[in-house]
């Protein structure tokens, strides 16, 4: 029997629970005292051990090279089971949890992404570095529809660090562009609290970056809308724009917008109009194109096309 066959057989007889136990034993052996003999714990991956830059690379290579899709899926579920076990215990060494979180992105193990949420819900307070690690794994899985639900729920957790919300928004938009309105609504409370904190701290430069980042994302949405790949562009764009503009500290707002009061007022007026269900006029659409061009760095030509598109929609309505 070849190594590959042996490994395949080893995992084919294991449930997700068994795999979680095997992984836990492996992690513990790896992170134990270096003088300890770990050869027993390494079976069946010893054919791969030491071949790559890290044992997690070796573990990934073992899965990639030896497990058929069904076994791989069960292996990934096993990682999920392990994450949930780690979530419920407070005596697990940091290294073990980090490795389990790392594997989710590395394999990739989409089946375990829900369990990341559970881990962070229960351990995120005590281990704040895990938010970054989990986002790194989500980022690696992105774009993928499977991550949308758990990632949204993750951002909505109270302990989620607000300053990372914009990145979660990015991965959500990448994974399901058509739902960007819902994504925005998920991250908005975090961004609002961030803006509030930032104003208090007067971190104008960083805030400028946040605004620019959000504006870039919006510009991307507009671009995909114009390219016909997204059909869900509605006035939420204005909401984002408003959030962005309103959050700018005054000196930056002046610098970016030239005449901020007019534009902010205009956005507010239009927002109100749309909220009341009043259809926009042609002039209105033109002004939207100007704002896109001016604020979000969308090229003039694109902004004009955008304005025309809005105009067409308005005429139809």
């Amino acid at each position: 029997m070849t190594h590959l066959e042996e490994v395949k057989e080893f995992f084919s007889s294991k449930s997700a629970e068994n795999i979680a136990t095997w992984l836990d034993e492996l992690f513990r052996a790896i992170h134990a005292d270096p003088d300890q003999d770990i050869s027993a714990a390494l079976a069946p991956m010893d054919a791969w051990y030491g071949r790559n830059d890290s044992y997690l690379d070796d573990l990934s290579a073992m899965c990639r090279e030896s497990l058929p899709p069904l076994e791989q899926g069960r292996f990934n579920l096993g990682i999920g089971v392990l994450l949930q076990r780690y979530a419920s215990r407070h005596d697990i060494p940091r290294e073990l949890i980090e490795d389990a979180v790392d594997l989710v992105g590395r394999l990739p193990a989409f089946e375990a992404s829900e369990s990341l949420l559970i881990l962070l819900r229960d351990r995120g307070h005590a281990m704040p570095f895990l938010w970054y690690d989990a986002l790194s794994s989500f980022a690696t899985l992105s774009p993928a529809r499977e991550i949308v639900e758990p990632l949204r729920k993750l951002v909505e957790l109270e302990a989620f660090p607000a300053n990372f919300a914009i990145y979660a928004f990015q991965y959500l938009c990448e994974s399901m562009p058509s739902e960007w309105h819902a994504h925005w609504n998920s991250v908005l409370p975090k961004l609002k609290s961030l803006a509030k904190m930032a104003r208090e701290d007067d971190e104008s430069t960083s805030l400028d970056k946040v605004c620019q980042f959000a504006a870039d994302l919006l510009a991307e949405k507009a671009t995909s809308y114009l390219a016909g790949t997204s059909h869900n562009l509605d006035l939420v764009g204005d909401e984002i724009l408003k959030e962005v503009v309103m959050r700018l500290p005054e000196p930056i707002r002046d610098k970016m917008l030239g005449n901020p009061t007019t534009i902010v007022n205009e956005i507010q007026i239009r927002q109100e109009k749309w909220n009341r269900g009043i259809a926009a006029k042609d002039k209105h659409s033109e002004s939207r194109g100007n704002i896109l061009s001016k604020v979000m760095g969308v090229p003039d030509g694109l902004a004009r096309r955008f304005a025309r598109k809005i105009q067409e929609i308005n005429l139809r309505s």
Binding site: I30, H31, P34, D35, S39, D46, A47, Y49, G50, R51, N52, D53, S54, Y55, L56, D57, D58, S60, R64, E95, D102, G105, R106, P128, F129, W131, Y132, D133, L135, S136, S137, F138, A139, T140, S142, P143, P161, N163, F164, I166, Y167, E174, L194, M197, A198, D201, E203, S206, L207, K209, V210, F213
Partner: protein
């Protein structure tokens, strides 16, 4: 024991993957060049034999790797060939998947309004993926104290960091500047450094460059592949011109996998040493990081390719002679 060693070395050499033949060649050369003294080789072979007796179902290559790991941990390299203290601009590479291991909690728990983005394990496959990854890498590594300093070293594999493969940064840079069309810098680095990666588009590589002050007392250094039990094609190459030059400078030589694949006989890649783990905190202040790109061209590690390489290493010595001479150490 002579007979046992003979039998075990023959089993190692006849391993169907051809890896055993490479290990045999390197072990023989380590003895011939007096990198390892006879008593160490005897001890090593005795341990291999005993491990094989304890688990006869395990193949000889796995036994070799297991025992080599234990020897490495027990200070193998302190008895290896030493060099003078000198300061060099050194280089090593890792896959992007592992880079996150080096990022400090200061970055991960940043309270900045817009912190550095969580680094993906590899660039997104979308259009701007590599550009975005580079920007994120720059963003992370431009933060003062972005790297961990406790319990982390340059050297693979972690967490059991037993050794670190290093080359002259300028040698790798020179190779990268000659990156041919159709290859990524990740491919070039992989080939020149002899890093076996037999799958395409799975790994991306980053390069660490740093000042390293070699101190023979702290950085005991061996010629590559004395006993280290991985698949890396690094070794002393007896005949080729570049390898000889490296040897004179007390360096080993990697095997350039591109030249090897093309059937060349002079396959010397870059100068290389193995060092004991290098604490990250020590090199951090001089550290620069470059994203090299994906490895897009797999390099075959077929049994035939492995055997050809072992033959190149032995440079005219037959594998049977290598087995006999190593086993004869037990007659001394």
């Amino acid at each position: 024991m002579h007979k046992d060693a003979l039998d075990w070395l023959n089993t190692l050499n006849s391993d169907t993957t051809g890896e055993g033949a490479i290990y045999l060649a390197n072990l023989y050369l380590s003895w011939e060049e007096e990198i390892l003294p006879p008593d160490v080789i005897r001890g090593f072979l005795a341990d291999c034999h005993n491990a094989q007796q304890a688990d006869s179902s395990k193949n000889a290559v796995l036994i070799y790797k297991d025992v080599a790991k234990k020897f490495c941990r027990n200070g193998l390299y302190s008895i290896a060939r030493l060099m003078e203290a000198n300061l060099i601009k050194a280089s090593t590479t890792i896959t992007t998947d592992n880079f996150i291991q080096y990022i400090s909690d200061k970055v991960k728990t940043s309270t900045a309004t817009l912190p550095a983005p969580p680094l993906r394990k590899k660039p997104s496959p979308t259009g701007n993926g590599e550009k975005e990854f580079k920007a994120a890498l720059t963003s992370v590594t431009s933060i003062p104290d972005w790297y961990k300093t406790d319990g982390i070293s340059l050297g693979a594999p972690y967490p059991h960091q037993t050794y670190c493969w290093i080359t002259h940064a300028r040698s790798l840079d020179r190779a990268l500047r000659r990156c041919p069309a159709g290859m990524s810098k990740g491919d070039v680095a992989r080939d020149a450094l002899g890093l076996v990666e037999d799958v395409a588009n799975v790994h991306h590589r980053v390069q660490f460059k740093f000042n390293l002050n070699f101190d023979p007392k702290r950085h005991a250094v061996a010629r590559p592949h004395a006993l280290a039990g991985n698949r890396r094609f690094a070794a002393c190459l007896p005949a080729p011109t570049e390898a000889t030059r490296y040897y004179d400078l007390k360096w080993g030589a990697t095997a350039d996998l591109k030249q090897l694949a093309a059937g060349m006989t002079d396959v010397a890649g870059l100068p290389e040493r193995i060092s004991a783990p290098i604490p990250f905190g020590e090199i951090g202040p001089s550290l620069t990081i470059d994203y090299l790109g994906p490895v897009t061209i797999p390099r075959d590690t077929s049994p035939h390719g492995n055997r050809q390489y072992a033959k190149l290493l032995l440079a005219g010595i037959s594998d049977a002679d290598a087995v006999n001479q190593l086993a004869s150490l037990f007659k001394l």
